[in-house]
């Protein structure tokens, strides 16, 4: 009997010592959680860089994962509106419901671009709270990191000092990396690009890129032949430097236009895991700059 009690207590202790279970909706937030939590967390991303975070389904494996999570880290601003509310209702997990400390949305802590003046689906799949692809602006990453580190400390008090310390370390590293990127950004300012979707608005805002057109007629509506033809006509007098794409976007419309305009299609990693070099947030940003710099040379 005594042995059983001892075993039970050991099991409980092992349970307490377990890493903080984090459910991240996108790879960029999983990467940030890893930076701030190190070995104290166990995190998995619901989407990969090759999946459109708008279009996911609340599939069984994700529901099972959300059931176990102590902290949910997502973008918000309606990026996951199609699947996250349903996932949360199916998960039977009170800790990560909206309003709980375990429910963390990055969009709550940054200034969002492109907040629509008019809410009307004739404008496409518009998000009332602005463009949700907000992780490609370093100031946003820093702001989210500061808030997330504090939230992790709140949810997992036992490791609070670890999270706070790692957050400070990350921010120091991040600030010096950002200073380096910004010194290179001047050379990129004014580069004219065409994007598939409004996925790179924050990056363009930061680096001063000029997104002259999007291949989608309206957000979330796949490019039509007529729209591509009109883009060709519009862009022929002054072709852009490149057509930029995320790993999950359809390459076909971009190829069509690139062949006719004689400009390259540039695959940007977009998020962590989007190419071999982008293994964490710092290398992700570095890779975007390197790829864009190659355009000019």
């Amino acid at each position: 009997m005594k042995r059983w009690i001892l075993l039970f207590m050991l099991a409980c202790a092992a349970g307490n010592a377990r890493a903080l279970e984090v459910f991240a909706c996108e790879p960029e937030w999983a990467a940030l959680v890893r930076e701030l939590g190190g070995d104290a967390v166990s995190v998995q991303a619901a989407t990969t860089a090759f999946q459109d975070p708008h279009r996911l389904q609340a599939r069984p494996s994700l529901i099972a994962r959300a059931r176990q999570a102590q902290l949910l880290v997502c973008t918000g601003a309606e990026l996951e509106v199609g699947w996250l509310p349903l996932l949360l209702r199916r998960a039977g997990n009170a800790r990560i419901q909206p309003g709980m400390p375990g429910h963390f949305l990055a969009a709550e802590f940054v200034r969002r671009l492109e907040i629509p003046q008019r809410l009307d689906r004739s404008q496409g799949d518009v998000h009332p709270q602005g463009n949700p692809h907000l992780h490609l602006q370093p100031r946003n990453v820093a702001r989210v990191a500061r808030q997330l580190g504090e939230r992790m400390a709140q949810v997992d008090g036992a490791n609070a000092t670890v999270y706070r310390q790692r957050t400070e370390q990350f921010l120091a590293r991040w600030d010096s990396a950002v200073a380096g990127w910004e010194s290179r950004a001047a050379a990129l300012a004014g580069t004219r690009v065409v994007a598939h979707h409004r996925s790179f608005s924050y990056l363009a805002d930061w680096l001063g890129l000029d997104v002259v057109a999007t291949l989608e007629t309206r957000p979330g509506v796949p490019p039509s032949g007529a729209h591509l033809a009109s883009l060709l006509e519009q862009l022929t007098p002054a072709p852009p430097a490149a057509i930029i794409l995320t790993p999950y976007e359809n390459e076909k419309p971009a190829r069509w236009l690139s062949e006719r305009l004689q400009v390259p299609v540039l695959h940007l990693p977009f998020t962590v895991g989007g190419d071999e070099a982008s293994v964490d947030l710092v290398s992700l940003y570095e890779q975007h700059l390197v790829l864009l710099e190659q355009l000019g040379s």
């Binding site: 990969t48 069984p60 601003a77 349903l86 909206p98 940054v110 200034r111």
Partner: protein
């Protein structure tokens, strides 16, 4: 003053020749040069201190500017919200508009061998409005979520409003439990949990029509438990008091109970699957068959089913192309009285369908569905008379979705439900407006 001093020195030097400089003069000059040097040193240190002050104030200004940006961003953020909600409005309100044109080659209203109730079959020829639906959903408070769906239908010139769903859900129960109360789509089977406008074909497969009148909707309680495992494992139970077909709902005790379980997961990043088992037990009282309902069934009805779905999308990215294969099999045993005759019947039915999105916005699909009955020879001339053919159909569909919120569909069905082959053609539109719909697996 300083300028005058230097001018005076220059003038003295110019006027007096070097030979004219006496000892006194040299001493005087030295004093003047010393005065000048100390004067310049004072001016340089003055400039240096002014420069340092300017640098300090510019640093202060820069910090103030950064703080101002932060404050501006923070107030913009505070104004913006950022929550994941079904809609910026509370509650999320959505409406679904459905309409179609059909050429049915005769059509049908009941399935031979099955005593059913309610609207069955492919519907009316020509243009008709389908079920228009209005949905409200929102978190009620920190513990409950609520959902109301009203269906508007035209019935012989009158518009009828039906409550299709009206349920509340406790979302903050411990231990992976979720409880639902009210009128809800039962958790049995796979397709049963979906709204009909989310279906891949213009009507429900034959087993759903024969066994549930299209969809099994219960009034009662549902409890689901999700296992704390990496593999998705969900178990559920329901107690229902419904009076909709196939239930008849009378009395204080529940007339139906349901058990169901689902397992599911991913294989790599491109495949995901789900497998389910369900059981429905009904206590039926005087369930009329068909329009005239001259004979009714009373007794026990036990239905069990198995369902599966497998989805494929390259690297899990369903935006470009994806494929879905789903199938369900049900069998039912009914035991009791039909009219005044003893009745012990067996029925079964299944469907299998595949839908392929071959390029963005375009999908093509095929479905086979069929039902079988073995009710015994004593029911000749009634709704339970076993047909000498098997009611079955083969359907092909092609649909086009201009956006996530609209869909146009063309469906061809080779229909052998009545015994003679019908070629049916349906052209359908399904549009949703308002709150963003849920991407259910």
């Amino acid at each position: 003053m300083k300028r005058v001093n230097s001018a005076a020195l220059a003038a003295t030097l110019a006027l007096a020749g070097p030979e004219a400089l006496a000892g006194d003069d040299i001493e005087q000059l030295r004093q003047m040069i010393d005065a000048l040097r100390s004067d310049y040193e004072a001016r340089i240190s003055d400039l240096e201190s002014r420069l340092a002050a300017a640098e300090r104030s510019s640093q202060v200004a820069r910090r103030a500017a950064a703080e101002a940006v932060d404050i501006a961003e923070e107030s913009a953020i505070a104004a913006g919200g950022g929550q994941v909600a079904a809609n910026a409005f509370n509650p999320g309100i959505g409406a679904v508009l459905v309409g179609r044109y059909a050429d049915l080659d005769g059509g049908w209203e009941s399935i031979p061998g099955f005593a059913t109730e309610g609207e069955l079959g492919p519907g009316e020829d020509g243009f008709s409005l389908g079920e228009s639906e209005v949905n409200f959903k929102a978190a009620i408070d920190a513990s409950f979520f609520g959902n109301l769906t009203l269906a508007l239908e035209d019935e012989d010139g009158d518009t009828e409003v039906a409550v299709e769903e009206a349920w509340i859900q406790a979302t903050s129960l411990p231990g992976g439990l979720t409880a639902t109360a009210g009128r809800h789509f039962s958790g049995l089977g796979y397709l049963n949990g979906f709204h009909r406008h989310a279906d891949d074909f213009s009507d429900r497969p034959l087993p759903y029509q024969a066994f549930f009148g299209g969809q099994y909707i219960g009034d009662g309680l549902q409890l689901r438990w999700l296992a704390p495992t990496a593999l998705f494992l969900e178990l559920g139970a329901e107690l229902n008091w419904s009076s909709r077909f196939p239930a008849t709902g009378e009395g204080a005790s529940p007339d139906a109970w349901t058990l169901f379980g689902h397992v599911g997961g991913d294989i790599g990043s491109s495949h995901s699957w789900q497998l389910g088992l369900s059981y429905l037990d009904l206590e039926v009282t005087e369930r009329a068959a068909g329009e005239d309902g001259e004979e009714a069934f009373s007794g026990d009805s036990a239905l069990s089913g198995i369902d599966f779905v497998w989805k494929w999308a390259p690297q899990g990215n369903s935006a470009l192309t994806h494929f879905k294969l789903q199938g369900e099999y049900f069998q039912r045993r009914e035991d009791g009285l039909f009219g005044d005759r003893s009745y012990d019947g067996d029925q079964n039915g299944w469907y299998l369908q595949g839908v392929w999105q071959f390029q963005p916005r375009w999908r093509v699909g095929y479905r086979h569905d069929q039902v079988d009955s073995d009710n015994g020879v004593q029911f000749l001339g009634t709704a339970l008379e076993d047909p000498d053919h098997r009611p079955e159909r083969d359907s092909l569909m092609l649909d086009f979705s201009p956006s996530e919120f609209s869909r146009l569909r063309l469906q061809y069905t080779r229909d052998r439900v009545t015994g003679e082959t019908q070629d049916q053609l349906v052209l359908q539109y399904l549009m949703s407006l308002g709150a963003h719909g849920a991407h259910k697996f």
